[in-house]
């Protein structure tokens, strides 16, 4: 079995008009044994979150770093890692990510000599600092034997194969433009996580599609969005990952322009047998 992982992030059409930068970030990391760790994050972009681009970068870096550390800690005992992630995915793992994201935010805030909000009794108000970097996070670790996914806030993660399109994680639907955020106090309490074993019965080719909410929100409805996920998969099957990779940025720009105008990020990990086409 082989895999190819690629993605793109584009500034939203309406953000471009208002002179804002793209607040989304994404990261992928491949470990020696072929394990893929990847994440997307959507900085909030509202006025109260002026550094949310930095917040989303920290989010994807934190997820990849934390998951790699867990992976290395249990590298000689895969079953123990699976058991741990299954039991503690939405608690201790999420807490670690929450803690590390906030630690890095404070460090960068101080390093850049940005204003420190102080309370009436002279104490530093860290919550107001975190708010300025607010971001969501969707991340997945795909090892040869399991996959572990975690999400805080909006965004989508789908698994697609010849049998159809399925959610890997399904976050609560919050109406409007609000979302759960890493910047909230104890943001880990809003995390959702899942662990699944992988085995020989898995059908290839298959793909994981991970995106920020600008992608789904640009579609007329949920069915049209699922159709798009399936279509990306079929296009890779038919034309190869390279062809999709080369066109991806342009497609996402078009999606934002004809859709909701928000930043759009899409990260795809495509798995296939040696005999099948991908490149």
């Amino acid at each position: 079995m082989k895999q190819v992982t690629f993605g793109a992030s584009v500034i939203g059409a309406s953000h471009k008009l208002s002179g804002m930068e793209c607040q989304d970030s994404y990261k992928k990391k491949e470990l020696i044994d072929g394990t893929i760790i990847m994440a997307v994050a959507d900085g909030h972009g509202s006025k109260s979150c002026p550094f949310s681009k930095t917040g989303s970068k920290i989010a994807v870096n934190t997820f990849c770093m934390v998951m790699e550390e867990f992976y290395n800690r249990y590298k000689d005992n895969n079953e123990a890692l699976i058991a741990y992630l299954n039991r503690e995915g939405d608690t201790k793992v999420a807490q670690t990510i929450d803690y590390e994201w906030k630690r890095r935010v404070l460090k960068i805030h101080v390093k850049n000599k940005r204003d420190i909000p102080i309370s009436e009794n002279g104490k530093k108000i860290n919550e107001k600092i975190y708010m300025q970097y607010g971001s969501t996070l969707v991340g997945i670790t795909i090892s040869p034997t399991f996959l572990f996914a975690l999400q805080i806030g909006d965004g989508d993660l789908f698994y697609v194969n010849n049998n159809g399109v399925n959610h890997v994680l399904q976050a609560e639907k919050i109406l409007g433009t609000e979302t759960r955020s890493l910047s909230s106090t104890d943001s880990w309490k809003n995390a959702i996580a899942t662990l699944r074993r992988r085995d020989n019965s898995e059908n290839f080719p298959s793909a994981f599609l991970m995106s920020t909410d600008g992608f789904a929100n640009s579609h007329k409805n949920a069915n049209e969005f699922r159709l798009t996920c399936k279509d990306y998969f079929e296009t890779i099957k038919q034309h190869g990952a390279d062809a999709v990779k080369k066109n991806l940025k342009e497609w996402l720009l078009d999606t934002s322009e004809k859709g909701c105008g928000d930043d759009v990020t899409l990260l795809i990990s495509y798995f296939y047998h040696d005999s099948q086409q991908a490149e």
Binding site: L17, T179, T185, L227, E234, A243, E250, G259, G261, D262
Partner: protein
């Protein structure tokens, strides 16, 4: 060479943004008040069209709901702002605000609303006291998912308006705009009409934790409707020569 392929995917669409004028047409609005409302709302249309064209990623849909003895939709279905026309309203009858809230609630459920819409903007104009039991209907409206998330503005016309009721509707005293003369009424209507462009930005905002008022729809303890920039609300006391209503 790069292979040029057609973009994969289903149908794309901008996000709908519903903007609803809710107008008190009871007998006390007769004459200059309803005349000013008709003229002022009519005059906001070109600016709302311009504003919508500057944000092609939100589809601004406008409707009018009137209430007096009973309530009814003047605009039966949501209309794209470019095709929206204002039909002058007449005044007469009592103030059945509860009926208006019932009709509003029926339209803010999913469906006919979709879950991918932007928060709806509701602008209520009234000069008097409701004559029906509006509280039950208002509670029902504000319990709906889109009722909670709606951006609600009230324009209090004249000194007999029930500001407590209007504040119950907006959930925020700063969004009860005072209009005690025709000039103030025109300015407040104009300001309210800009709410659509303020709500239409796709940027997201953090919601509180599930355990701390997450279900209230409030933003980390802030008032929900502060998604609007309330700093530029016209100062009612400095508009017009005197309070004549």
């Amino acid at each position: 060479m790069t292979k040029t392929l057609k973009r994969p995917g289903g149908e794309l669409s901008s996000r709908p943004l519903h903007f609803i004028w809710i107008v008190d047409c009871s007998g006390s609005m007769f004459g200059e008040k309803i005349g000013t409302v008709n003229h002022a709302i009519q005059s906001t249309i070109p600016e709302m069209v311009d504003s919508a064209q500057n944000n092609p990623n939100a589809q601004l849909l406008v409707r009018t709901l009137k209430f007096s003895s009973g309530a009814s939709w003047v605009t039966v279905n949501p209309v794209d702002i470019e095709n929206f026309t204002w039909d002058d309203l007449d005044a007469g009858g009592v103030t059945d605000l509860g009926k208006a809230f019932d009709m509003l609630a029926a339209q803010l459920t999913i469906p006919p609303m979709t879950d991918r819409a932007l928060p709806p903007v509701l602008v209520l104009l009234s000069d008097g006291q409701p004559t029906d039991d509006y509280k039950k209907s208002l509670n029902k409206l504000l319990k709906l998912p889109w009722g909670k998330k709606s951006v609600r503005i009230a324009i209090s016309i004249g000194q007999d308006a029930d500001d407590n009721m209007l504040q119950e509707f907006t959930g925020n005293p700063e969004l009860v705009l005072q209009a005690n003369n025709p000039q103030a009424l025109v300015k407040m209507i104009k300001w309210a009409s800009t709410a659509a462009s303020q709500v239409s930005a796709p940027s997201s905002k953090p919601l509180g934790n599930k355990n701390d008022n997450g279900s209230s729809g409030k933003l980390n303890g802030e008032k929900a409707a502060t998604v609007l920039d309330i700093n530029n609300i016209p100062n009612a006391s400095s508009i017009g020569d005197k309070d004549i209503w």
